[in-house]
């Protein structure tokens, strides 16, 4: 069977896949630039952690509440962000994640800089689950997120998001009330990220405010951008690759930031769409998603 160590990596991969897909909804589909996705992850994580350690909730009963809290946080953070664009939006998202992290550190209610520990593993039938079962739980979650994401992409909501992303003014002129769609993106993206947060908290069993600040948000951004913003396969690849790399290769761990930073710059130079992004070099080489269909016979554009 799979060794303990590999189980850990796989679980972490699954968790980051979920968060990355959350960021993808916000920035990839809806085009809302966000450098603070970890704050929604943190909302889910802290809500579940506090409910299960302080108020006697079980993992399962805390889960919907944690997801609701994440969605609510998305809404709260999304509302002020409605008025701003581009650069101001990017900076706003940085500001918000910092304030979030700061409040977690300085308000004793949330455990302060030491965070919250002894977060229990979920229980099934009265028994806390083992790692392998947790892996299954995580990947059921990944599957749900992927399926719901795919559905969103094929829905009118997804189309509205993409039209808003490509040209917000034209989208308005085409009858879409764009603020509403932005809020949908914030809520749904935040919920996904919150789900990742819950799974993270109960796996690592110990969370601190620093787990959900600016730098973790950037790590998620690297994953999504590396893999391909705006696709489902992109964040999955990015999360898997960038989670496994430092775990499997010690030297990556030691030079993590250097490599991640360099990777970002490199990707922006040569393949800003991401490795598996639409029309990327890799995709064109595999000829799965050609930019220009050959001749007049062009199949349906499937996502």
């Amino acid at each position: 069977m799979i060794g303990e160590y590999h189980l850990t990596i796989l679980i972490l991969m699954g968790i980051w896949m979920i968060v990355a897909l959350g960021l993808n909804v916000l920035s990839g589909y809806a085009g809302l630039f966000n450098l603070g996705i970890a704050m929604y992850m943190g909302t889910g994580a802290y809500t579940s952690a506090m409910l299960t350690t302080g108020y006697g909730f079980s993992f399962w009963s805390a889960l919907p509440i944690a997801l609701g809290a994440s969605a609510l946080m998305g809404l709260l953070a999304g509302l002020p962000s409605l008025r701003v664009r581009e650069d101001a939006l990017a900076v706003m998202s940085i500001g918000l994640v910092f304030v979030f992290e700061s409040l977690l550190i300085y308000l004793p209610y949330f455990g302060g800089p030491v965070g919250i520990g002894r977060i229990p593993m979920p229980s099934i039938g009265g028994e806390p689950v083992g790692k392998f079962t947790y892996l299954l739980i995580v990947y059921v979650a990944v599957l749900s997120v992927v399926l719901s994401n795919a559905r969103l992409a094929r829905s009118w909501l997804g189309l509205a998001w993409e039209s808003m992303r490509d040209d917000e003014l034209a989208a308005s002129a085409t009858g879409r009330h764009t603020p509403r769609f932005k809020l949908y993106a914030y809520c749904i993206g935040a919920t996904y990220a919150g789900l990742g947060g819950v799974l993270y908290a109960h796996f690592i069993n110990y969370i601190t405010p620093y787990d959900f600040g600016f730098l973790p948000s950037i790590y998620v951004l690297v994953m999504v951008v590396f893999g391909g913003l705006g696709t489902i396969r992109g964040p999955l690849l990015g999360a898997a690759f960038l989670t496994a790399m430092p775990e499997l290769f010690r030297f990556v761990q030691d030079y993590r930031n250097l490599i991640y930073g360099g990777l970002l710059v490199f990707m922006m130079f040569f393949e800003p769409r991401g490795l598996l992004g639409k029309g990327s070099w890799v995709m064109r080489a595999i000829r799965l998603r050609p930019e220009k269909p050959v001749g007049a016979v062009a199949g349906k554009t499937v996502r």
Binding site: R154, S155, W156, S163, D166, S172, G175, R176, T301
Partner: protein, 248 residues
Amino acid sequence: MLKVRNLARHFGGLTAVRNVNLDVEDTCIFGIIGPNGAGKTTLFNLLSGIFPCSAGEIYFNGQQVHGHAAHRIARLGIGRTFQIVRPFSELTVMQNVLAAIGAKLGESLPVLLREYDRSPYTDAARALLELTGLGEHENEIAKNLPLGMLRRLEIARALGLEPQLLLLDESFSGLSHLEVEAQVELVRRLRSQGTGILLIEHNMKVAMNLCERIAVLDHGEKIAEGSPAEIVGNPQVIEAYLGRDYDA
């Protein structure tokens, strides 16, 4: 169909549009011409709700339009194209048109969660693409299209909302002779199908040929209105254009 009264728009100290009155009848091709900077596009932006009006009123089929947001006005039945094309660049031609068709369906959650790539919608989109001559290109990504096709795509997209009035902002500029002819045909066809057309145009030949009625703007005010023949002979109009040329 469209009544505009005393419309005005100021930007700080600058008055872009002042005291404009218009009556656009049903199923008529109405042209707006005037020298550069006359306020034509600003007028369109006011009509389509992209800018709020500083003063004045706009009524569409008896309903108040001024003060409403752009998306409301679009759903009320006023569609528009843009002087500098604004396609949904990463989406395909088909998706561009579907985006508008979808908007028509409304924004309740159950509707929003339905798949869009399905029969009644794609059929409707294809019909519009056929109408605008883009049938062969439905799967091309918008940003790869040449300008002529993009202009037609904008029209197809605007039609997705089933507008009663279509605002065409210089949709003939940048087109080759052949493309212009095709576009004129298209506009005439739309008009015969019952869509009202209000167009801004620099190309005099097109404007005179196509429009049944023309209003001339200069420095934000309407200085003349009438049939093409009346406009051509109007001394004020001539002065507005030539006077500009002399100063420049």
